[in-house]
Amino acid sequence: MAGRKDHIARLAAVPMFSSFTKKDLTAISKAADEVTRPAGHVLIKEGTEGYEGFVVLDGTVTVTRKGKKLATLGAGEVLGELSLLESSLRSATVTCETECTVLVMDRQRFKQLLLETPSLSITFLEELAGRLRSLDRTAFG
């Protein structure tokens, strides 16, 4: 079981969280749970409504879409984070390839956190606006 301090260091290394302060990351890690799942466990199922976001702490996961393998991901990857912000169907299936330790957060706890800490929302908005900008650039040049 990794300690809270370890979680914060891991979160800080995730690109999505790179502009967050240590205080922000502490708040995020407090609202999350660490769980271990066996190989073969389905974390996210394509086409179903999702309410959770995950950060892989240990192990590897496989991402598939319509049965086709898209990627193998490991420690530090963030999965399903958009489901923390809005309700929508999962766009891919994520299965544990090995035994995995992940941080899980659900939408309700995350929203509560954002309402209590508006500065966190602002940092997230900045991060997502940047993502939208680069997707936009890919799409429209």
């Binding site: 879409r65 958009l82 912000l85 809005e86 929508s88 766009s91 929203k111 954002l114 309402l115 209590e116 508006p118 500065s119 929302s121 602002i122 997230f124 908005l125 900045e126 997502l128 606006a129 940047g130 993502r131 939208l132 900008r133 997707l135 936009d136 650039r137 890919t138 799409a139 429209f140 040049g141």
Partner: protein, 141 residues
């Protein structure tokens, strides 16, 4: 001089603000300044960083990207909305075709509104997450 009601009506038509309440948009309207720009003035310049968004209250503007005309826009159009959230470069140049009345909202004032109204920040996050999801789906299937 546009009335507050007119400003709120224009803000309500902006996709970034879908889901925001009238009360929230009134705060945004009050955080903005009304300015006049003469025909030929450049509102935003592609490639430059900016920290304001502009809502056209009256007049006509022209949008160009890499010197190619992309669109003509009129009252209710928004220019540079993502600059309320991050500090990325302007993705297009927008020039006044006629004399224009504009509502300018700068990032600092906008963030102050979000600090004051955390529910609005959460709604914006959901809207942006949805947009990322849509673009993502469009380009990566």
């Amino acid at each position: 001089m546009a009335s507050k009601q007119t400003k709120v009506q224009h803000l309500a038509g902006i996709s970034l603000f879908e889901g925001c309440s009238k009360k929230e948009l009134e705060k945004v309207a009050s955080a903005g300044d009304e300015i006049l720009m003469t025909a030929g003035s450049v509102i935003v310049d592609q490639g430059q960083t900016g920290r304001e968004a502009f809502v056209v209250l009256s007049g006509k503007v022209e949008v160009t990207r890499s010197k190619r005309k992309v669109a003509d826009l009129g009252p209710g159009a928004v220019v540079g909305e993502l600059s309320l959230l991050d500090h990325g470069p302007r993705t297009a140049t927008v020039t006044c075709v006629t004399d224009c009345e504009l509502l300018v909202i700068d990032q600092r004032n906008f963030r102050a509104v979000l600090q004051e109204v955390p529910t609005m920040a959460v709604k914006l996050l959901a809207t942006i997450a949805g947009r990322i999801r849509d673009l993502d789906k469009k380009y990566y299937g």
